[in-house]
């Protein structure tokens, strides 16, 4: 022992026996000069067993170049050296009950030995196991929380998707509830709603409102002679032809079996007669094809308007149009008739 005898070292470093940190001191030849009580407790190796022997006898990894090269600068009074727990895990493997090894954070500092003008290397080993485990536990908890958040986010996204789907279905359902399945026109129920709305609007806006009731002539015979599928085809085609004539603001509905009701907002009697006539001729003059035969279908149309006929209630406007339709049927069909309290005026 050229620098410091082992017994002198025990005296000199006795204070380190009271430290809760693992300490050992190496001589420049890597022999152990001092081994504190904490390390005795961690490793089960008594000071008397290890002092005087090279540290690499019991801990061969400390003889590897990666350690030797950094430790030996200490003997020349070099700067402190750190061995962190992540890059080195254990400088001095010290098992815990259960066999796991302590995580260690080690600092090596140069201790001057003035008597011999040289330096020893003091190793101070902090046990960072509980810190490492606490961080790992925290990380597990954090991961779990993040996973839960992600799960919640997914569920919420699903919910949004379902809500959208529900809205879409509701819209479809609503659409279906106001439409006629065969022709795609508005149904009877929706027509009443629009009739009431447009009637009130026409009063408020001091505008006219015309109502046309249209009935296919002899439709029962068409069905009987050519079959119901053809009858349905005629209904669809009539709906399409009306649709091409009226304005976007007009409301066309299938009022009954072969009966159609049309509301023309802002239209007076003269305008309504023109529109009705156009519809009548567009249907009556162009036959419907069936089994390479042309079938001619005619319509009768009754008209009533607010300004001309002054119905007190929306239902009265419809009733006047119905009366006019009845008159059109009575006067030989395939014609347009405007309501007249005394009987009606053919066009």
């Amino acid at each position: 022992m050229d620098n410091l005898t082992i017994s002198k070292a025990a005296d000199r470093f006795a204070l380190l026996d009271h430290s809760p940190i693992g300490h050992f001191v190496l001589n420049r030849d890597f022999t152990v000069l001092f081994w504190n009580k904490c390390l005795e407790a961690w490793t089960g190796i008594r000071r008397g067993q290890i002092v005087g022997e090279s540290i690499s006898v019991r801990f061969p990894h400390l003889g590897e170049e990666k350690y030797v090269s950094r430790i030996k600068s200490t003997f020349g009074g070099g700067p402190p050296t750190i061995f962190s727990s992540q890059l080195h895990k254990q400088i001095i493997p010290a098992p815990l009950p259960g066999g796991k090894l302590r995580f260690q954070y080690t600092i090596v500092t140069a201790l001057p030995e003035p008597a011999n003008d040289c330096y020893h290397a003091l190793f101070s080993i902090q046990d960072v196991t509980s810190l490492t485990e606490a961080i790992d536990n925290n990380r597990v908890v954090l991961q779990k929380a993040l996973a839960e958040m992600e799960e919640r986010r997914k569920v919420e996204a699903e919910l949004v998707k379902y809500t959208e789907e529900l809205k879409r279905l509701n819209r479809a359902l609503k659409e279906r509830s106001i439409r006629d399945g065969l022709t795609g026109l508005f149904n009877h129920r929706y027509f009443y709603y629009v009739l009431r709305r447009d009637f009130l609007l026409s009063i408020r806006n001091r505008e006219d409102l015309a109502c046309l009731l249209l009935d296919l002539d002899h439709f029962k015979e068409i069905n009987d002679n050519h079959g119901h599928p053809f009858g349905d085809k005629v209904l669809k085609n009539v709906a399409a032809r009306i649709g091409r004539i009226v304005r976007e603001t007009d409301v066309v509905s299938r009022y009954g079996g072969e009966e159609f009701a049309i509301l023309l907002p802002g239209t007076d009697l003269a305008g309504a007669l023109v529109a009705a006539e156009k519809i009548r001729t567009r249907i009556g003059n162009r036959p419907f094809g069936h089994d390479s035969r042309d079938i001619r279908v005619t319509v009768s149309i009754g008209i009533a308007t607010c300004k001309e006929h002054r119905p007190p209630k929306p239902e009265d406007l419809l009733a006047f149009a119905d009366k006019a339709l009845y008159a059109a049927k009575a006067s030989g069909r395939n014609c347009v008739v405007a309501y007249a309290p005394e009987g009606g005026k053919s066009n």
Binding site: E65, K66, S69, R70, S73, G77, G78, P79, P80, T81, I82, F83, S84, S85, Q86, L87, H88, F103, Y105, I107, T109, V128, L131, T132, I135, R139
Partner: protein, 203 residues
Amino acid sequence: MPADSRFHLDALREMVITGLGQAASSLNMMLDSTVELDVPSIAMLTREELLNGRNSFGNPHLSCVQVAFCGPFSGRALLTFPPLSAARLVAALVGDQTHPSDLNAVTTDTLSEIGNILLNCVIGTIGNILAEPFELSLPHYLEGKFEDLLQPDSRPATPTALLALTRFRTDDHQIEGNIILLVELGGFNALLSLLEYSHPPQG
């Protein structure tokens, strides 16, 4: 830039590169992966210039390993990173890519060791080349705003700073940090005269 400043910078750059070369071989011996270290740029700045240029550090909040040195001139050496880069560097060096954004007491200890190796090698090399040894403190890990990291004490001395951009290249990553040497007032003059003594300018 005056010719002699360029000469000083070149000499300093050479020293920093030599120091980092040693640091890299030390790191590589410890790690499974390979680390290359280089210095794309180096500059001498006053503290004010350093503070004015702090935006170029990319992050107002920095992770920093700091070592105090004392010798022919004294000061502090800082290795700084944006915290996320610091965490990525540790993850790359430890070979654990599962938590590359995690900076905690254990990973900052690892950063302290990296700073310890790097800064010891850089200051040690400067000392060796100047044949004037330095005493170095234990590294301290700090996080904070750049200006706070520069001024942890209120000493009136205005140091001059040497700023070296340092690039760590591992197999899959490239991470940039800065080495900053803050030299106490008058220290740089001592350094420069030592440089001229040990590295006389050519021509």
